[in-house]
């Protein structure tokens, strides 16, 4: 659409909720908003910070928000429970689930190296899930691992202060935090060992999807532009973010964090950005079902749609 063509009054309202409060990988949304990509697409987008992907899934299903940026595992679980939501795009096809330690203190060179070190993990949710699945895939037993349960907020401090040797969690986050202390992280990325989980994508409330299919399409396209801008110059994206929403830590940490996530994702310049495969959905739902976190036997195809992915 050419600049100024859609009248202001006709702009479609889109309420977006993120997975968490502002983090480096959210800069594309801010950029899209700032550069007017949404406005140009005839959208009136409001972006709300979230409180974990599980809550994001509930909020989108219940219609409090139209579109959610969330971890796809949570989206799948919600849809499996009958939540009226559809996943309309996945850009991070490799989960960030990993074990992270500090170089020189532990070596993480394969599943066997996890036997011995003290591992901090948050019970329930993505950590527990990835450990559960990983032990299955790798042939380890859960009882082989020395796992202590920790609040998400306590994990980093516990690792950095030496109370634990390894954290289970999001690789981009923890590796960048370790680097920021002047140490080198070591990471065991679970998807490298066959973990069939994926990362971030977009879920849309079904009512909204039925009423405003075009808006969803335009939203994804505009967001993709934001991703492209951010990926082109992560430092600038981080600087912009620090200005607009306050961001803690050195800029380098933000850049590291974002780059690590991009490394697990489809590049936004790629035409398949956002596109989902039947295979990854099949594997995801099968695996979740196997570990008892998905009771529904709905076919994998009912969880997602590629119709709205920008071409």
């Amino acid at each position: 659409a050419a600049a100024g063509s859609p009248a202001r009054a006709e702009a479609t309202k889109v309420r977006v909720v993120l997975d968490w409060a502002w983090l480096p990988y959210h800069s594309p949304f801010l950029i899209a908003q700032d550069k007017g990509y949404y406005k140009d697409a005839g959208l009136d987008v409001t972006i709300e910070q979230g409180r974990g992907s599980a809550n994001t899934a509930v909020l989108v299903s219940q219609g409090q928000f139209d579109i959610g940026h969330l971890n796809i595992t949570n989206a799948a679980q919600m849809i499996g429970k009958g939540g009226p939501m559809t996943v309309v795009g996945i850009y991070q096809h490799k989960s960030g689930a990993s074990f992270v330690g500090i170089k020189g203190k532990v070596a993480l060179d394969g599943p066997k190296s996890l036997i011995g070190p003290k591992i901090g993990s948050t019970p329930g949710g993505s950590d527990a899930l990835s450990i559960k699945i990983f032990t299955k895939v790798s042939g380890l037993k859960a009882s082989d691992l020395d796992i202590v349960s920790l609040d998400a907020n306590a994990k980093t401090a516990a690792l950095l202060s030496g109370k634990i040797d390894v954290v289970s969690g999001d690789a981009p986050a923890y590796t960048s935090y370790v680097k920021a202390t002047g140490q080198e992280p070591v990471a065991l990325i679970l998807s490298d060992y066959g973990l069939p989980l994926v990362g971030f994508g977009f879920g849309v409330n079904n009512d909204f999807l039925a009423k405003h299919p075009d808006a969803v399409k335009k939203f994804l396209a505009a967001t993709k532009k934001g991703f492209q801008d951010a990926a082109a110059d992560p430092a600038k994206a981080c600087a912009f973010m620090a200005e607009t929403v306050h961001l803690s830590g050195e800029q380098s940490r933000c850049v590291n964090y974002f780059n690590a996530l991009l490394a697990l994702s489809t590049p936004p310049s790629d035409p398949t950005w956002g596109k989902q495969s039947a295979e990854e959905w099949q594997k995801l739902t099968d695996t979740l079902r196997e570990v008892g976190l998905l009771e529904s036997d709905k076919p994998a195809s009912t969880y997602y749609s590629n119709e709205f992915v920008p071409q």
Binding site: G82, T122, G124, S126, A128, L150, D151, A154, A158
Partner: protein, 287 residues
């Protein structure tokens, strides 16, 4: 006829009551009267919950109906009870420490303006600090396991006892204090024999608050760092979007909390036979 608040001791003229001569029949009726309201209230509350959930078709991942929670309770009772045990342990140890410390601190503050000015602000800070912020510190100081949980319970529950102790001790009758001073009482004796017993009804109200806070304190402690307990179970259930299990745990926890509360009330009654609030059989007469 309207002057009397309900619930005053028996024998009051303006309460229409069965004659006080009542034998077994009366007693049974009274037991029924005592049990009926809480049951009714439970039934109403749960009925409302079930009804609303069904009426508005609230999905169970948001709020499961009580029927489903009951099924979950029945199905998982062993798991739930085991975890509850850990929580109860930490809560009990923690609140015992908190009550002792709280009474000591409250006494020191009530008796000495200097201690008040030096200590109170820090206690307010400890009490009011959002615990998430210092949760990592707890972990680093106390490591994993029951200690940090207990410490959590202590920081969570000591303050009501402090405040109640201060108020209670400061309410002692100044004339009675003069009396025992003229008996040559030491400062300690004044405290032990007069100020403390006269403050006891108020202190116990603080203790009741603390006791009712202790289980949440333990659960929050378990959120931060623990491999067992109801808090751990809850974090798991919430993380796994297992809302029914989470609510089953909360229900168990609530029942435990209510029982604890009633137990505290019972102890209160035993400790204060002389207090107006406890003069059941006797009537408040003229002194």
């Amino acid at each position: 006829m309207t002057a009397l608040p309900e619930g005053r001791p028996e024998g009051r003229l303006d309460e229409p009551r069965a004659p006080a001569t009542g034998g077994l029949g009366l007693r049974t009726r009274r037991a029924a009267t005592n049990l009926f309201p809480p049951l009714l209230s439970a039934v109403i509350g749960l009925g409302l919950w079930e009804g609303l959930v069904r009426w508005f078709a609230v999905p169970s991942y948001v709020l499961p109906p009580p029927s489903q929670v009951v099924l979950e309770l029945v199905g998982e009772w062993q798991y739930l009870l085991t975890e509850l045990g850990w929580t109860v342990l930490a809560a009990a140890i923690g609140v015992a420490i908190a009550i002792s410390l709280g009474i000591l601190a409250g006494a020191a503050i009530a008796l000495s303006p200097t201690v008040d000015r030096m200590l109170t602000s820090w206690l307010v800070v400890i009490h009011a600090i959002p615990k998430v912020v210092i949760a990592p510190l707890f972990l680093i100081w106390f490591g994993f396991g029951v200690q940090s949980e207990v410490f959590f319970v202590v920081t969570f529950t000591f303050f009501p006892v402090v405040v109640a102790t201060i108020t209670g001790l400061k309410s002692a009758d100044p004339d009675v204090l003069q009396l025992v001073r003229s008996m040559g009482a030491t400062r300690q004796q004044v405290l032990r024999k007069i100020m403390f017993p006269s403050a006891l009804p108020i202190i116990l109200s603080g203790v009741k608050l603390s006791v009712s806070l202790a289980p949440v304190g333990a659960v929050i402690g378990e959120f931060v760092a623990s491999n067992q307990g109801l808090g751990h179970l809850l974090i798991r259930a919430v993380g796994d979007m297992d809302t029914a299990l989470a609510f089953a745990a909360v229900t168990l926890f609530s029942v435990f909390g209510v029982l604890l509360w009633r137990a505290a009330e019972y102890v209160e009654g035993r400790l204060l036979p002389w207090h107006p609030s406890q003069r059941g059989d006797f009537k408040p007469g003229q002194k």
